[in-house]
């Protein structure tokens, strides 16, 4: 797929130094990236991170204060939305309530001067695509939320835009519908090959749908990469904390090792950090392993006490007090059968091991 091609070479959509101020508030700061044709991109971040503003700048619904936007080789920075080539779907569906499903889908087609039969054919084709053929003459209020959002998608795709923009399209739907629509939208996108940008605050959504995720925070892109890269190698503590669950504890770099507040030396890759640097150590809960009683844990073994247990379906999350790591709690995810074998209970002392390869060190804390 084109997404695997090097996007740096063929930037279908290219932003350079885009900033946006609202009065005194800076919503976007110096955003630059390239998107290849056919890619599925997710802007992911907490509310207020600027992801929707960025999407609206690309659509022309907001005008950037600085920077340029190019699409298909053309500078579109200053064009009004009506002269840009995109389709858009909003969280609120924004279906025209007084028009039937087919009239909604045909809304942009009528304007292109197509003949009636062509319009009908196109609408039928799109209704097939979204699997709502039997609802042609219904009004939006007669459809479920998921069905309405599919109609909105068809309406946006009707004119075959070069770019599809999705603004939190699934956030208003309930969990089951959301999960199904995720796959449907992705399948439709694969079939049509339309370059797509989706805004979401749901990391699971981003991870299941996107070719690449742009994690945003405070008006900047913190990291862009494939879902795997983002999860396995978060570039900043913010990304590490925002994607999945992450333990943080302070350490000091001494002789190529990270020394904890309780004077325990952890083996790990300290990279280019200077000795004496006070940094934050990040470990994912699922990377923490239980050590069998009576066996030697080897390097990075930590004594701890179970202070609380949460049952989370297929695994249990242990809250551990480990004096060696300081005041904070350490979260460890353990398979159910393992937890049973170790007779895990509140108050039980355990030993856990952190494999050196799973430890990441950051110069700043997660709140930065």
């Amino acid at each position: 797929m084109t997404a695997e091609a090097n996007p740096a070479n063929d930037g279908f959509l290219q932003l350079e130094g885009v900033s946006k101020d609202f009065g005194g508030f800076r919503a976007l700061t110096d955003v630059s990236f390239k998107v290849a044709e056919g890619e599925f991109i997710c802007f992911l971040g907490p509310s207020g991170c600027g992801k929707t503003t960025l999407l609206r700048c690309i659509a022309g619904l907001e005008t950037q204060t600085r920077g340029s936007i190019r699409m298909g080789g053309e500078d579109i920075s200053w064009l009004p939305p009506s002269r840009r080539d995109f389709g858009i779907v909003f969280q609120s569906y924004a279906l025209f309530p007084n028009l039937t499903v087919s009239d909604n889908i045909a809304y942009g087609l009528v304007n292109k001067g197509l003949a009636r039969p062509e319009i009908v054919a196109r609408v039928t084709e799109l209704l097939d695509l979204i699997g709502l053929s039997e609802h042609v003459s219904k009004y939006p209020s007669q459809l479920s939320g998921g069905e309405q959002q599919r109609v909105a998608l068809a309406r946006a795709l009707a004119t075959s835009p070069g770019l599809l923009l999705l603004d939190e399209p699934l956030s208003a739907l309930d969990a089951k519908v959301r999960a199904r629509l995720r796959r449907e939208i992705r399948a439709i996108q694969d079939r049509l090959g339309v370059t797509t940008i989706m805004v979401t605050h749901d990391q699971e959504e981003a991870q299941t749908m996107a070719d690449r995720i742009f994690v945003m925070n405070g008006g900047r892109i913190e990291q862009l990469g494939t879902p795997d890269e983002i999860y396995d190698a978060p570039a900043t503590p913010f990304v590490a904390d925002f994607i999945g669950v992450m333990n943080f504890f302070p350490v000091t770099v001494v002789d190529g090792e990270a020394v904890t507040p309780g004077n325990l030396a952890l083996t790990c890759d300290v990279g280019g950090l200077n000795p004496g640097a006070r940094v934050n150590c990040a470990v994912r809960p699922e990377d923490i392993l239980l050590v069998d009683d009576g066996r030697d844990g080897g390097e990075n073994t930590i004594e701890a006490t179970v202070s609380d247990i949460e049952f989370l379906g297929s695994f249990v999350r242990l809250y551990l007090e480990a004096p060696a790591l300081g005041d904070g709690e350490l979260r460890a995810d353990v398979r159910k059968d393992l937890a049973r074998r170790h007779e895990i209970a509140t108050g039980r002392p355990v030993r856990v091991r952190i494999p050196p390869a799973t430890i990441r060190l950051y110069g700043t804390g997660p709140a930065a």
Binding site: L61, S77, L79, P81, G87, F90, S92, A158
Partner: protein
């Protein structure tokens, strides 16, 4: 189009505008022009006139000094505030009880009482005054009930004002009482709260914004009303009649302007308070509130029924008396029925006044609805030019604060100004229509704005992405969806144009006098029965149009709004 686009490119730096952006700009310019001519320039001329003498010399505050040095004029302020205050107090209590009965009890015949309460809206305020004259005047039926006091004066003004402002108060308080959260009442009952305490701690506070708003609206309506004190005020002068006397009686425009400014001040302050209160009340009720469903209570329901019957009887007594008076040959000596009073064979009055009224009301309803809805659209929907659009909105809110009589006088000065190229409009239907649209602009603008706000914010974004021109989306989606509001606006404009007196009394010319003004003049020259007949013509027209409106819009909405039904 291309040249305009390039010019704008330059003005905006690099930002390019599409056709829709330009359309919106032209509309903004159009509305700026509209408000300049219809509101700002006339008001400015009126206010500035109060600082000049008859010869056009600037004399600062001398006119104001003269005003406050003239005890007769100064007394009017006190009189105006007295009758407005008393009327407001009475109306609010009566209207609250009535609205409470309609919204919070299981009283029977609610539908009927809802309609009856609105009947006074179908007639000009002066009709209530004329009817009161027949009930309580020198030769009235119930004059003895006043124990020697005269109906001409504060008593009559207060009574007539109570009658004509009652529906306004019921509407506003009713809206507040209709919004309620039954969960609050359930919580209170579970805590074993007494009925009195529930009323005092939940019902009353819940309706407080509505009550405050009603107080302000009624107070200003009475303070600035002209028809009632003109007919029944006798020698009890109020500010509104003073303006009329200064301008029409003594041709003293400068003093008329002074009184107008003084009348404008409380109106503006009250209006500002009302806006703040309304804005606060928005977030009062969460969207999750469960509407309150009243439970039957034999005592309360029947007491309320008796009360509402009393109000209904009084309302009908006023209208009935006006009708009876219009049909009686020579009150009170010859009570034979006749249609003679409807021939208006007296000085300058005639059926053409009624036709003028219909012409004005129809034009205002048609043109006004169109202009006001587009104005609200320009304020609410486009993305660009936020500052200019906000300015338009402020202009749209301003007319509410300008009393009709003040607006009328401002127009008179504006149109009569020697250097005004629009001077040829003096005395035409056009100027009457323009002033009436402006007079009733704010309420209708807010109705339209509310309807537009309820539509998805992103419709315009979607349309732009689909390359559909704004005008098409406006026709295809915005207008159909807002149709109920559009119909509401049109009937509101029609009824108010038929019944209003204040703005138009300064603006009619030969052949363009409207029925409400003719009724005032007939009453002025002692032709009270003919005045009643003329006022009743307005009532008939209003009833017919109102009924037609219900039927037509009902049918149309049923057909057009199929999408609202699930």
């Amino acid at each position: 189009m291309t040249t305009a686009a390039t010019a704008l490119d330059r003005a905006q730096g690099k930002l390019r505008l599409d056709r829709d952006d330009l359309t919106v700009r032209w509309l903004i310019v159009g509305f700026a022009l509209f408000f300049a001519i219809a509101l700002v320039i006339p008001l400015y001329m009126m206010v500035s006139r109060s600082f000049f003498d008859r010869n056009g010399e600037f004399i600062g505050l001398a006119n104001y000094r003269e005003y406050f040095d003239t005890p007769a004029l100064f007394l009017s302020i006190q009189n105006s505030f007295t009758v407005a205050g008393i009327s407001t107090a009475i109306v609010i209590v009566l209207a609250f009880a009535y609205a409470y009965a309609l919204n919070r009890t299981c009283m029977r015949f609610k539908g009927f009482f809802k309609v009856i309460a609105m009947v006074p809206l179908l007639s000009p305020s002066l009709l209530k005054a004329i009817a009161l004259v027949y009930w309580f005047g020198k030769q009235g039926i119930l004059t003895d009930l006043l124990f020697g006091h005269s109906i001409y004066g504060p008593i009559g003004i207060v009574m007539a004002s109570v009658f004509w402002t009652f529906p306004h108060a019921v509407l506003i308080i009713g809206t507040a009482l209709a919004l309620s959260d039954s969960r609050l009442y359930e919580a209170a009952e579970v805590l074993k709260t007494s009925h009195t305490r529930i009323f005092l701690t939940i019902t009353l506070p819940g309706a407080r914004y509505g009550i405050i708003s009603a107080v302000i609206v009624v107070f200003i309506l009475v303070l600035t009303d002209f028809g009632v004190p003109k007919v029944i005020g006798g020698s009890y002068n109020v500010m509104a009649t003073d303006i009329y006397k200064e301008v029409i009686g003594q041709q003293n425009f400068e003093m008329g302007a002074v009184v107008s400014v003084i009348l404008l001040i409380p109106a503006v302050i009250a209006f500002a308070i009302d806006r703040i209160v309304t804005r606060r009340s928005v977030a009062l009720l969460s969207s999750r509130a469960v509407p309150y469903a009243p439970k039957p209570n034999w005592l309360v329901d029947n007491a309320m029924l008796v009360y509402c019957i009393t109000i209904a009887v009084l309302t009908l007594a006023i209208l009935g008396m006006a009708q009876y008076a219009a049909l009686v040959k020579f009150w009170p000596y010859n009570l034979e029925l006749t249609l003679d009073h409807y021939s208006f064979e007296v000085q300058g009055a005639g059926w053409e006044n009624f036709y003028n009224s219909l012409k004005v009301a129809a034009s205002v309803a048609l043109i006004g609805t169109f202009v006001i809805f587009i104005g609200a659209y320009v304020v609410e929907k486009p993305r660009r030019d936020p500052v200019a659009r906000q300015a338009i909105q402020m202009m749209a809110l301003l007319p509410m604060a300008v009393p009709g009589l003040v607006l009328g006088l401002a127009y008179l000065m504006f149109i009569n100004h020697p250097s005004n190229p629009l001077g040829f409009l003096y005395g035409t239907i056009t100027i009457i229509v323009l002033s009436t649209i402006t007079h009733f602009y704010t309420v209708t603008h807010l109705t339209a704005a509310t309807a537009l706000k309820q539509m998805d914010r992103e419709f315009e974004s979607v349309s732009a992405s689909l390359k559909v021109p704004l005008a098409r989306s406006f026709r295809r989606v915005t207008m159909p969806v807002c149709m109920p509001a559009i119909f509401d606006i049109s009937i509101y404009l029609f009824l108010n144009s038929m019944t209003t007196v204040s703005a138009v009394i300064f603006l009619y010319g030969p052949g363009t006098k409207v029925a409400s003004v003719a009724a005032i003049h007939l009453d002025d020259s002692g032709e009270t029965a003919a005045a009643a007949a003329m006022a009743m013509l307005i009532v008939y027209a209003c009833i017919v149009v109102r009924v037609l409106h219900v039927i037509v819009t009902g049918r149309l909405l049923y057909r057009l709004q199929a999408w609202r039904r699930r």
